[in-house]
Every structure is written in structure tokens, then in C-alpha cells.
């Protein structure tokens, strides 16, 4: 909310500088987001009276004006855009100065004639304002500064009022707050309504007393609808409200000052007032020019025939004030906050009024605001306030009370505040305090409906005392080892391993579009959870797989990098039998490299997967080839799989190169981890390496060859592939090391030769391999 400090000073004569006050408010009440100085940049702009206008002798479209600035006269040259007449009073920028736009005004000659300033359009003074000339009335003297004439010698604080403090969405509430903070007295507005002799004759019927606990109205006759005086307009403008006419402006003024939304009906268009729920399919055309279809969840103000306003939200167009209006009904009412909120949400219509009603109003302010508005309208529109007012009200509820002990306040704040200070703070904020042996009974004022319990009282004491005056305390407790969450613990180790292998961690959104959901997730669309209100269609479905978006990231990075190695660990959301999704943690690892062959990429990702399994002590994995991927099982549960991104879908991400994927079902994986590894005694006898190269049918898998060789003799400990290529005539060439080792003796060369011969023989016979010599 925008708070004018001049307005605030009407009710609390604080002495602090604006910056100090802002700091005080920020630390004890509400954050001040910005301090505005509305007169800034207008120094040197004055009200000038145009004495005489002549055509510029040397230019067709220029004029010379003699301008009276009170103590002196100057000559100003202006163009025909400023449609100004002799005798008018307008803003004049007097040289030398700079306008807010940065334009320099200096004395200069234009075609031989001296110009000592510039006539300013509103847009030249206030960026964003219309291109019109402001004209001042007879009460404004030539030579006064523009800032003074427009009541802009003010400072405006932009406050971020928290939604619990409905009492501070208006000037009077903030004045009370400032009074408590500065110790300066609070002055409440004092006035008397000058009533006419004619007595009020208005029928008001409230059918929904729970929804409208109070309805008050006055009638004012013989009003003249016109522009408001400058001081009023300026206060509204500085508060962020556009002035309209004197009647509307008064209601807005009171809204800003008292927080009480008021409404004005044209009395000649309303025969009586009924507060009721709308009937099914009733319609109302409102002030904003829109027609709303209503039902019983919406409270309306109606006349004998039809709705004339959406209660607490917006008035109807038909009964609104127009230039011809002479007699008005002024409404000040209270409505049930939650009902107004629901209605406003249902209609999709949020207004200054509804926002205030839904936060709850001060029930004692309604009458005061009504009287104040009536008196102001009388003053500003020459109307007659008809004698008396209508008040339809439920019984006033008792003031609520909170009991709290000094001990509690001290304990919850960690502060040795005494009972004197406690009473002082609460009294300044408008609470009434009764004390009995360090137990307080506190009467909550009607404007503080947010205070309901001892903790709320603690907050009042704490913030006014100043949270920064508390001595920070430290936690104490028994020192016991803290259990680590194994899922998080192993996730972090896994991440560390992956980066040590050269993979970068990418984080993606947990939602994706319909195409990715359907074609790349591995789950049908109906197994996806759907967002009811996605920001855009790209984010419509909760992911069931990490692969689609990670593949997208791989592709994007291939524009800048030759090789991309990335991974993500995150949740996927699967439909199960429960209402909530099964949130499963998954890992996806990807490698792609420009122009790289399939085999090399595959071997690299497989090496990564094997290294991870081995690091975590998982040696026994059953790998099975299934539906174009290679799946690893432990105890018959699918733990991880190796695959290629499907070539037919590569178009999604404009992928030109092979992309290999290792995915891991982390939630199944981590409970199987064996951190404790069993020591194997080291052989003290050297191993002997022999190499072998064979040509073989390309359909014979490496696994088959390896299995065959290892079975030949237990002295063969390892078979390790080191070269592989395909020959044109349908053969592949494999080269591998064989490691011979015994744990009991040093092997003789002759012995190894013998086994090696058997190996060659078996390979030739069983697999029809041809050994390269």
C-alpha cells in the first residue's frame, strides 16, 4: 500500500525523517519496499499566469507568451500544441533546470527571440501522464511551485502489508502503528455531520444477517457531481487511485483513510434496499461494463425488483452515480469475509473493496466512515445530508479477550521484558490491559481481529520491543549420532562417482508436454498425472521418466560441445492404486559424441554402469537383452538398463548422433548396496598375459566367447577385449588378453602354451573362429 506521509501526519505528528520512519516500520511492522519523493525533479517548475500571447514574428507555428511568475515576468516561446489562452495559469519550467525526462531547459534564442522557459504538458512533468495542459483555478497564485500547487511536497512509502493486518491497509491504522512506534500521540479525526431538517425515508431490509451483520446508510440530496479539489485528487493519486468525481473520490478517500469500503447509489433509481442472496440465473451489469450470471453463492444488494450491486465487491452500472445524479444513498456495511472471498473467486472479480472485506473489517469503523463521508460530500458537493441514518445490525459481539502470563511472554520470546513495558506497548497499540500478579487479561480492540491467542500477544511485544534487541541463544541438547537417510547418503555418493567419471549434473523440470509423455516416457499417457493449471502446454504432465528432458539437454549441449556426458537424479511420478503418485527416485546417465560410433559409445556407458555397480559392491547382475535394451536384474528385479535413444524419435531434439542411456531404479538399487567389501587375499605369484586375435562370425556375442574361454582352464582368470572391428566379408575381428595366474605357484611357459593351444582349438571347433597368427 502507498502511504502519503502528509496524510499520516494529520493523525500522528511524528518527527522522524522519512528514511528513519521507513526503517522503523520495516523492523517493527511492515517492510517498506520503496520510498517515493513525488516532488523530485520538479524543482524549478512554477505556476505561471499567461499575460499576453503574440505570434512569433519569425516562425509560423511558434508563439510568444509573457508569463507572470509572481515576483517576475518572463518570456516563453511555445508551439501550437499547447493550446493555452491569455489569463490561464499553467505549469512553466523556468530556465535553467532539467525536466524529469532529462530535457535541459535553458535560456535561448529561437529565431531571434528570447525564451526563458517552457510551458509543460502533463506528460512532460510526469512520465506516462496524458499529453494535456494542467490549468490551475483562481485559488492558485502565480509564482508558487508546481509541487506546492499540486500538493506534491510529500513522501510516499510503499508498504508491503501482510494479509493478517487488515487494520493497516488504511491511513488511520498506520497512524496508530506509527504512534506506538514513535511514542507520539494519535489524533483521531473529529467532525460533526451537519444534517438537514428533512428526515430520512429509506427502507432497508437485510435478509441474510449472518452474511451481512451490519448495514448502514445515509441519504444526501441535491449533490452536484464535479471534479474534486486538488488536495483530494492529489492524495488519491499519491495513494495510487485515479480521481473520478467528487462523490466517488470521497468514498475512495475514506477507503484509504478508514479501510471501510463505501458505495454510492443514485437514490432516484433505487426504491428500497434489500440484502439477499442472488437468485439462480439473475444477472447484473456492473460498473466495469461486464455482465455476471449470479446464483445463491453470491450476496447482492437489490431493490424491490433486481440486484443493484454485488455485495462487498462491485456496484451495478444502472444505479451508479452519473453527471446527472442529484440524490444519493451512501452505503457502509459489513459482510462475512469468507463469503465475499468465495463469491469474488467464483466471479473472477477482485476489487479494492472485496480484498478488504475478505480480510475482515473493523466493525466499529463502519458508522464513523459513513458519517465522515456524508460530511465530506456535503462540503464538496453542496448537498444536504438528510437527517438520521439507517442502521440494521446484529447485536454487537462482545470484545474478545486473551489471557496471558508474563512468564509465557518471556519464555517464548527469550526476553526479560517486564510487565510495565508489556502494558505500555499493548496500550499504545490500542489494547486494554488488566493485570493481576503477572497475569494479563487483554481486551482486543475491534480492529485487531488477527489477535486471538497468547502467541499473538507475544508477537506484538516482540516486534515493538524490537527483535534485534533479543540476545541470540543457542540450541542445547543431548549429543547423539544422527541417523543419515540412506537414500540421500547413497544418492550423494553416486553423484560424486558420476562427476569423477566426467559426467555433469543437470536438473530438469518435473513436467513435460504431451508428445514426450506419449512417445518417450515408456508409459502410456493415461498413466501420467496431469496438471490442472499448467503455465503452458510444455508443462502439462508430471514426468514418469527422466529420459525425455535429459535427451533434450544432451542435444542442446551438442551445439556447443563435441561430447556430452550428463546425468540427472530426480523423482518420477507413477500412477498406482493410491491417490498419491508413487514418487520414485531415478538416475539417468547419457553420453553422446559428434560422429562417434555406436560400439564405442555403448562400451563407454556400459563401463560406467559396471563401475558403479562394482563400486557399490553389486557384482552379481543378470543382464538380459529385452526389447532393444540391455537390462540388469538383481534378485529378479529390474535395477538398471542400457539402451540407445530411439533413432526414429531423434527428430524431437534434432539429434544427429547416437545417444546412449544408462538408467537406474535408484529406490530398488540403494537398499542392495554392500558398502562392506570382503577382502580377497592377494596372489603372490605373477600372472602371465597372452594375446589372441580371431576372426569370427559377427553374430557370436562376446559373452559366448568369454564364457567358453574361461571354462577351459581355471588358470585363466580373465579374458579382456581390447580391439574389435568388422571386416567386409561378414566377419568380425576380436583381439583379447588372456590372464593366466595361479595362487600356488609360478606358471611355466610351456604349461601356458599348452592351454593356449586348447583355447585356440576350442575357439576354432566350437565357434568356427579363425585365429590370426
Amino acid at each position: 500500500m502507498k502511504l502519503s506521509l502528509n496524510w499520516l501526519k494529520d493523525y500522528c505528528h511524528f518527527k522522524n525523517k522519512p528514511e528513519e520512519l521507513a526503517e522503523l516500520l520495516s523492523l517493527s511492522s511492515f517492510e517498506v519496499e520503496k520510498i517515493h519523493y513525488p516532488a523530485q525533479g520538479l524543482q524549478g517548475v512554477m505556476v505561471g499566469e499567461i499575460r499576453k500571447i503574440e505570434k512569433h514574428p519569425g516562425a509560423d507555428r511558434l508563439y510568444l507568451a509573457q508569463v507572470n511568475l509572481g515576483k517576475k515576468n518572463i518570456q516563453v516561446i511555445f508551439g501550437d500544441k499547447a493550446e493555452v489562452k491569455e489569463g490561464e495559469k499553467v505549469p512553466v519550467a523556468v530556465a535553467p533546470m532539467f525536466l524529469p525526462s532529462g530535457l535541459e531547459i535553458k535560456e535561448r534564442k529561437i529565431r531571434g527571440k528570447e525564451s526563458e522557459g517552457m510551458l509543460c504538458l502533463e506528460s512532460e512533468l510526469f512520465p506516462g501522464a496524458p499529453e494535456v495542459l494542467i490549468r490551475f483555478d483562481r485559488f492558485v497564485k502565480p509564482g508558487v511551485s508546481l509541487a506546492k500547487a499540486l500538493f506534491l511536497n510529500d513522501v510516499v512509502l510503499d508498504l508491503n502489508i501482510t494479509p493478517n493486518r487488515a487494520d493497516c491497509f488504511y491511513v488511520l491504522g498506520l497512524a496508530r502503528e506509527v504512534s506506538a512506534l514513535t511514542g507520539k500521540k494519535l489524533f483521531l479525526p473529529s467532525f460533526k455531520v451537519k444534517e438537514d431538517k428533512e428526515k430520512i425515508d429509506l427502507k432497508v431490509e437485510v435478509k441474510e444477517k449472518d452474511l451481512c451483520p451490519k448495514y448502514e446508510a445515509r441519504v444526501i440530496k441535491g449533490v452536484k457531481v464535479k471534479e474534486s479539489p486538488q488536495w483530494l485528487k492529489s492524495r488519491l493519486i499519491l495513494s495510487g487511485i485515479r480521481p473520478i468525481n467528487n462523490l466517488v473520490d470521497v468514498t475512495n478517500y475514506l477507503l484509504m483513510e478508514t479501510g471501510q469500503p463505501l458505495h454510492v447509489f443514485d437514490a432516484d433509481k433505487v426504491d428500497k434496499i434489500i440484502v439477499r442472496k442472488a437468485k439462480e440465473n439473475e444477472k447484473l451489469l456492473t460498473l466495469d461494463g461486464k455482465e455476471y450470471l449470479l446464483d445463491s453463492s453470491i450476496l447482492v444488494i437489490a431493490d424491490s425488483q433486481k440486484p443493484i450491486a454485488l455485495a462487498g465487491i462491485m456496484g451495478g452500472k444502472e444505479t451508479a452515480v452519473s453527471e446527472k445524479t442529484e440524490n444519493i444513498i451512501l452505503e457502509s456495511a459489513l459482510f462475512k469475509p469468507s463469503f465475499i472471498r468465495k463469491a469474488s473467486q467464483k466471479l473472477g472479480l477482485r476489487t479494492e473493496s472485496s480484498l478488504r472485506f475478505e480480510k475482515g473489517r473493523d466493525r466499529k469503523m463502519a458508522e464513523q466512515a459513513l458519517d465522515r463521508a456524508a460530511e465530506m460530500i456535503r462540503e464538496l458537493s453542496a448537498g444536504r445530508v438528510i437527517k438520521g441514518k439507517i442502521i440494521v445490525s446484529n447485536q454487537e459481539p462482545r470484545d474478545s479477550r486473551v489471557k496471558v502470563s508474563l512468564n509465557y511472554l518471556q519464555a517464548i520470546l527469550g526476553l526479560n521484558v517486564d510487565s510495565k513495558k508489556t502494558k505500555e506497548i499493548l496500550t499504545a497499540l490500542g489494547f486494554k490491559v488488566k493485570e493481576k500478579e503477572k497475569e494479563f487479561e487483554i481486551i482486543i480492540p475491534s480492529f485487531r481481529n488477527d489477535v486471538r491467542m497468547p502467541a499473538d500477544i507475544a508477537e506484538e511485544i516482540g516486534r515493538i520491543y524490537g527483535y534485534n534487541n533479543l540476545e541470540p541463544a543457542f540450541l542445547k541438547g543431548e549429543l547423539k549420532p544422527v541417523q543419515e537417510d540412506p537414500s540421500l547418503y547413497y544418492e550423494n555418493i553416486l553423484k560424486e562417482i558420476l562427476i569423477s567419471l566426467g559426467f555433469d549434473e543437470v536438473l530438469n523440470y518435473p513436467f513435460y508436454n504431451i508428445h514426450l509423455a506419449e512417445r518417450l516416457s515408456g508409459y502410456p499417457l493415461h498413466n501420467h498425472f496431469q496438471l490442472a493449471n499448467p503455465i503452458n502446454p510444455e508443462q502439462q504432465y508430471l514426468r514418469t521418466s527422466l529420459i525425455p528432458l535429459l535427451a533434450g539437454a544432451t542435444s542442446r549441449n551438442l551445439r556447443s560441445f563435441e561430447k556430452v556426458k550428463i546425468f540427472e537424479i530426480g523423482r518420477v511420478f507413477l500412477k498406482g492404486k493410491a491417490i498419491f503418485p508413487k514418487e520414485e527416485k531415478k538416475l539417468a546417465v547419457m553420453i553422446s559424441e559428434k560422429g562417434k560410433d555406436k560400439i564405442s559409445l555403448y562400451r563407454e556407458i556400459k563401463g560406467t554402469a559396471e563401475y558403479i555397480f562394482q563400486k557399490f559392491g553389486l557384482e552379481k547382475i543378470d543382464w538380459k537383452e529385452e526389447k532393444g535394451s540391455f537390462n540388469g536384474y538383481i534378485q529378479n528385479r529390474l535395477i538398471g538398463s542400457l539402451s540407445f535413444f530411439p533413432t526414429k524419435e531423434a527428430g524431437f531434439f534434432k539429434l544427429k548422433d547416437f545417444l546412449v542411456i544408462f538408467s537406474l531404479n535408484f529406490d530398488l538399487f540403494f537398499p542392495l548396496i554392500k558398502e562392506k567389501k570382503k577382502y580377497q587375499s592377494l596372489s603372490s605369484y605373477p600372472g602371465v598375459k597372452r594375446d589372441l586375435s580371431v576372426f569370427i562370425d559377427p553374430h557370436i556375442s562376446w559373452f559366448k566367447i568369454k564364457e567358453l574361454v574361461l571354462k577351459i582352464n581355471p588358470l585363466i582368470k580373465e579374458v579382456e577385449l581390447f580391439d574389435l572391428y568388422y571386416r567386409e566379408e561378414g566377419k568380425k575381428s576380436l583381439s583379447f588378453h588372456l590372464l593366466y595366474q595361479s595362487s600356488e605357484r609360478t606358471l611355466e611357459s610351456a604349461e601356458i602354451d599348452k592351454i593356449q593351444e586348447i583355447v585356440i582349438d576350442q575357439l576354432e571347433k566350437k565357434l568356427k573362429a579363425k585365429v590370426r597368427k
Binding site: 501482510t162 480480510k359 541463544a473 540421500l488 498419491f580
Partner: protein, 334 residues
């Protein structure tokens, strides 16, 4: 005659001994072995003037000496070159790139946060990302049809569930299985239905803190946050301001003195000298009741750290969208 040649050989070797530079060696080579006027070359050339018998024997001898000398010279050259190699080592040669990846800076920072709280005896717990209105709002004292709900723009799923708007629902879920005293943190992803720009994301990370024990006060909350922020950012000042979160009372926001300008005012802190760091407060009695905690015996506090914002401040990152952009040019910097 023989002796004369042996002496020559000795002289050459002596001279060679004193050579320590390649160009001196070259001069010496020309002097003795040069094709036109090298002493040994000349001797060999003049052999033809000797009598035939002498010629044969002398020729043999001189050739042998020449071969020896050439061999020694070659060796010397090799040695000298090797010395040069060592003397002129080029330390500006580029290093061979290490194949090491990076964690997303969010993960790195979150790990830092977790580690600090872990050393302070906080248990680290994970929570679900899809929540119900009941846990995300109702049980946290944010009733339906209350304006406080406007503080959270929410992604709803068809069917009524929602993506959690904060990590706070975990306060309740965790207390279903625990009894005070507790010290917990819950790091995790949260979601807001918000337009995205350089300082607003719809997907971001929070770390919820929850402490319930006997005799806890607001001063404990401020003390705990102070030591945490100091552990992350070093010597800083903090201040607390009143704020409103329906699940705490009193509620506060904590600012930290601006790291960039040290409190003097700059564009990062919008000239205020302070940077808003986190929201916190004493757990609201209604929420404690919802946790089935005896409010006569226990009190507690909770706080919510915005991890993205803290990470941005820590590294000087100026665009929040980079965290989820998947751009390795960004990630590899960390």
C-alpha cells in the same frame, strides 16, 4: 709419425673437453673434420703424396682416429642437446584436460547447507513433492477461503492434489512418526504457479527446518539462523523483521548484511544494505496441536531457506533460470 697422430687425437679430445656449447662444438667440428679445411680431412687428402707402403698404414691409422673422433663428437653433441632440452622446458604448454564433471551449483550449495545442519545435530529427511491441500494448507493453519492462501500460487493436479508450494507440509508428516525433542531439516523441490523471469522460478528448492523442544524461544531461532548464515557466508550481520506466515507466530523474516557492498547500499540489495534471506518463526500453537505435540510442555521453531536465492548470492549468479536450463557452459563453471 704414429705419435704425431696420437698427439693430435689427444689435443682434439682435450679441446673437446672444454667445449660446453653447441656452437663451439660446431666450430671444433669444422676445425678438425670440416670437409674443406678440417685438419683431419686435410691429412687424409694429403695421404696420396706419401709413399705407397706408408700410405696404407698411415691411412688406416688416421681413418681410425677420425672415426673415433667423429663418434666422440656425436656423443658430445647428443649430450649438449639433452642439456638444452632440460634448460629450455616450456612450462606454458597446455595441460591435458581432466575428465571431471560438475554437480549443479544448487546441489553443491544444498549439500553445504545439509552438512552444516548435520554437524549441529539435525536429522536430514526427504519428503514427497505431490501433496494434498490438507497437508500443504489446512493443517498449516491456512484454511480454505482465507486470504492467506493468496500467498501461494499453486499448481494443481487434475483430481485435487497439488505440487507442494513449500516444504512445510513435511513438518506435519514427520511429526506423525516422531516425538519431541526433534531437530530436522527437509531439503527439497517446491513449486509455484508463477511467471518466470531472471529472479522468479516456478520450480525451486527449499530447506525446511524444524526444532521442537522444551523451553525454545525466538532468541534460539535467531541464534540458530545466525550461526548457520555465518557458517555459509562468513562474517556477516543479520537482522530480524516481523512477517506473516500462518503456520508460525510470531513470524519473522531474516535479512543479512549485503555481501556485495558490505551494507553500504548497492543494486543487489536495492540500496538498503540488507538482503532478505529467509522466513521463520515460532511454530503456531494450532500447528503444534495438529502435530499432537503437548503445547504446555514444548515449543518449537521452523524456518524455510530459499536455496536458489542463497546459491545465487553465494556465487553471484544473476539469473535463476540458469539452474534448470541444463546448459553445461553454466554447470561446468562450478
Amino acid at each position: 709419425m704414429k705419435e704425431k697422430f696420437q698427439q693430435l687425437k689427444l689435443r682434439i679430445l682435450e679441446e673437446l673437453n672444454s667445449v660446453s656449447r653447441l656452437d663451439d662444438l660446431e666450430k671444433l667440428t669444422i676445425k678438425y673434420l670440416g670437409r674443406r679445411a678440417g685438419e683431419l680431412t686435410v691429412i687424409l687428402r694429403n695421404l696420396k703424396n706419401l709413399p705407397l707402403t706408408e700410405r696404407k698404414e698411415t691411412g688406416k691409422l688416421v681413418n681410425k682416429i677420425k672415426e673415433e673422433i667423429e663418434k666422440v663428437f656425436k656423443e658430445k653433441e647428443k649430450n649438449l642437446k639433452a642439456t638444452i632440452k632440460e634448460e629450455f622446458f616450456d612450462y606454458t604448454l597446455p595441460g591435458k584436460k581432466a575428465d571431471q564433471g560438475s554437480l549443479n551449483p544448487l546441489t553443491q550449495f544444498l549439500n553445504k547447507v545439509i552438512k552444516i545442519f548435520f554437524t549441529m545435530g539435525f536429522e536430514v529427511v526427504q519428503g514427497q513433492e505431490v501433496e494434498s491441500e490438507e497437508y500443504n494448507f489446512d493443517l498449516l493453519n491456512i484454511p480454505k477461503d482465507h486470504p492467506a492462501r493468496d500467498l501461494w500460487d499453486t499448481f494443481y493436479l487434475t483430481g485435487g492434489l497439488l505440487l507442494r508450494t513449500h516444504t512445510s507440509p513435511m513438518q506435519l508428516r514427520l511429526m506423525e512418526k516422531r516425538k519431541p525433542p526433534v531437530r530436522l531439516i527437509v531439503p527439497g523441490r517446491v513449486f509455484r504457479h508463477e511467471a518466470i523471469d531472471a529472479s522468479h522460478e516456478s520450480v525451486f528448492y527449499q530447506c525446511e527446518g524444524l526444532v521442537i523442544d522444551e523451553g525454545l524461544s525466538l532468541a534460539h531461532l535467531i541464534g540458530t539462523l545466525k550461526v548457520f548464515l555465518e557458517a555459509v557466508f562468513g562474517e556477516i550481520k543479520i537482522r530480524a523483521r516481523p512477517s506473516f506466515f500462518p503456520f508460525v507466530e510470531p513470524g519473522i523474516e531474516v535479512d543479512m548484511s549485503c555481501l556485495i557492498c558490505k551494507g553500504k547500499g548497492c543494486s543487489v540489495c536495492k540500496q538498503s544494505g540488507w538482503i532478505e534471506m529467509l522466513g521463520a518463526g515460532m511454530i503456531h500453537p494450532e500447528v503444534l496441536k495438529n502435530m499432537k505435540v503437548d503445547i504446555k510442555k514444548y515449543s518449537g521453531f521452523a524456518f524455510g531457506l530459499g536455496i536458489d536465492r542463497l546459491t545465487m548470492l553465494y556465487h553471484g549468479i544473476d539469473d535463476i533460470r540458469l539452474f534448470h536450463a541444463g546448459d553445461l557452459k553454466f554447470i561446468k563453471q562450478f
